[in-house]
């Protein structure tokens, strides 16, 4: 499994719809500086920088080349990750691998997106195989619409339950000073918001955000000397599902193969996790639409198939509930895409450190799962612990 790796430092911007006050590099630099300060290090202490964003979402390629100074990458060894929605997760995984291998003692992971630069949906709709399924692509919204519809058809779930999930995430986001959308909304408000692709309504979808998030990862020896409680990345797992084109995606005929179930199964087996809901204290899942939450809860083994909506109905996923999910407000509240996967890990680490402020969950957090999900049903998941 490699050497032990800890999260030493966490930094993120206040994520917003627009950041006309800064350019890309200046925005990235805010998060990098905060993460280094948190780790008690300077950029000279960083051995390698792993950088990620979704290319073209700012309307240009080579985003790394234009932001190298702000990211602290200048003349450092490093890599750029660009794997769609999972980019942030892939970057953290790559940083972990660099340190776990023993080749580097410290790694700075920087994820960001500045979506006020261009209509990023214009890039996203090109993420479909151009000859076979681009004609029908309705962006990410269409995927969550088919998910939501299928879930309602197969369980007792109604639109009200997805709306309640969204309200709970909004309630959490209002406690998170970094969150983009801090909406004061009710179930009725969600149900009254306009339909994008039925049953997905505007309030069910993640916003387009500007923001950056940085992590400092360190070897055990370095992490134990840092000023903050080390949060250990105990294990991680990834799986990419076979969909070079959209073969019906989440509604393909059964049996479906889910990358999430495959990845979670491998990670749980290696770590003796037989009761995920009981053994994981907090979840920062990458849930781009409140309609995805039910599927995610079931695929990650938080509950039996067809039961997630009942847990949401009982509000078990709230900060003071038995299974807190998305205490930060989640991706539906804040989605600077390249940063979103890094933010999930950062927020889970803050929960373990008990530094999550008003959004700290009621449970004593010793373990957390953070994930990133994206195109092709690609999943990256992290198992974080307080004990080494």
């Amino acid at each position: 499994m490699g050497d032990r790796v800890a999260i030493m430092g966490v930094g993120q911007t206040d994520h917003r719809y627009m950041r006309p006050d800064v350019n890309h590099e200046e925005m990235i630099h805010e998060a990098v500086r905060l993460a280094l300060e948190d780790a008690g290090l300077t950029i000279r202490d960083i051995d390698t920088v792993i950088f990620d964003n979704m290319d073209l979402f700012e309307g240009h390629y080579l985003a790394d080349a234009m932001t190298v100074d702000g990211a602290g990458m200048y003349l450092k060894p490093g890599l750029k990750m660009n794997t769609g929605g999972t980019s942030g997760g892939t970057a953290v995984a790559t940083g972990w691998q660099h340190v776990a291998s023993g080749l580097f003692e410290t790694a700075l992971v920087v994820g960001w997106q500045k979506q006020d630069a261009s209509p990023s949906i214009g890039s996203l709709v090109t993420a479909r195989e151009p000859l076979y399924d681009r004609e029908l692509a309705a962006g990410a919204v269409g995927i969550f619409a088919t998910m939501g519809l299928q879930y309602m058809q197969e369980t007792g779930c109604r639109e009200e339950h997805a709306a309640l999930a969204r309200v709970i995430m909004a309630d959490n986001a209002r406690k998170n000073p970094h969150a983009h959308l801090k909406l004061e909304i009710t179930v009725e408000d969600v149900l009254a918001s306009r339909v994008l692709v039925w049953p997905v309504r505007l309030l069910h979808m993640s916003p387009t955000s500007c923001g950056a998030c940085a992590l400092v990862l360190g070897s055990e020896a370095r992490a134990r000397k840092g000023p903050k409680t080390p949060v250990w990345i105990r294990d991680l797992e990834t799986a990419h599902r076979e969909v070079s084109v959209f073969r019906g995606g989440c509604v393909e005929p059964r049996p479906q193969v889910s990358a999430i179930e495959v990845a979670a199964g491998r990670l749980y087996r290696r770590n003796g996790i037989t009761d995920p809901a009981g053994q994981i204290d907090v979840w920062e899942l990458y849930t781009p639409s409140s309609w995805a939450l039910f599927h995610w809860m079931e695929l990650f083994g938080i509950c039996e198939k067809g039961q997630a909506w009942r847990l949401v109905e009982k509000e078990a996923i709230r900060l003071d509930g038995p299974i807190p999910i998305e205490p930060s407000g989640g991706v539906v509240s804040t989605n600077p895409i390249g940063a979103s996967g890094v933010i999930r890990v950062a927020e889970a680490a803050l929960q373990i450190r008990k530094e999550a402020g008003e959004r700290q969950v009621a449970k004593d957090v010793k373990t957390a799962v953070a994930t990133a999900w994206g195109a092709g049903s690609w999943i990256v998941m992290f198992y974080l612990t307080r004990e080494a």
Partner: protein, 155 residues
């Protein structure tokens, strides 16, 4: 130094050319003739729609065991696109509303085919409804997915 944020707008107009390759190319040529074909994995026997060079589950070459599917099928899921969405093919907003559906074609139980339904009334679309592909007239087909206009409701 002014505190006023300076933002510059730059429109772009780009052209792209795609190679279909032998497997999807065969599928699109058949589509131009009014046929929908899948290919079959020599290992697990699963059909692939659209046809692919490799079976993702068995990791073997799919070959050219072509299986014609019916142009009739059953809806297994659907949705209504209400909000305008960028069409990457034209770089502009696509007209709404329209209905999308996952359809299992007769003879193709392993695969779903995604296309539009003619029916736009949410009250009339349901899982299990029977539909049939409506092709453009033979001279108007180009080997594109749009050679099928939509699927119409039958019986």
């Amino acid at each position: 130094m002014s505190d006023e944020p300076l933002e510059i707008v730059i429109p772009m107009d780009l052209r792209f050319k795609w190679s279909a390759g032998p497997h999807l190319g065969h599928f699109l040529r058949e589509l131009r003739e009014g046929n929908i074909v899948a290919n079959r994995c020599p290992e697990c026997g699963r059909l692939q729609l659209p046809p692919t060079p490799v079976c993702g589950r068995c990791h073997v070459a799919m070959g050219t065991d072509w299986v014609p599917l019916s142009t009739k099928g059953t809806v297994i899921s659907y949705s209504f696109v209400v909000d305008p969405m960028y069409d990457a093919g034209i770089g502009d907003m696509r007209p709404v509303p329209y209905t999308i559906a996952a359809i299992v074609l007769d003879g193709g139980p392993d695969v779903a085919f995604f296309h539009r339904l003619e029916e736009k009334d949410p009250e009339k679309v349901r899982v299990g409804m029977r539909v049939e592909a409506v092709f453009r007239p033979p001279g108007k087909r180009q080997g594109l997915m749009e050679d099928i206009i939509h699927f119409r409701t039958i019986d």
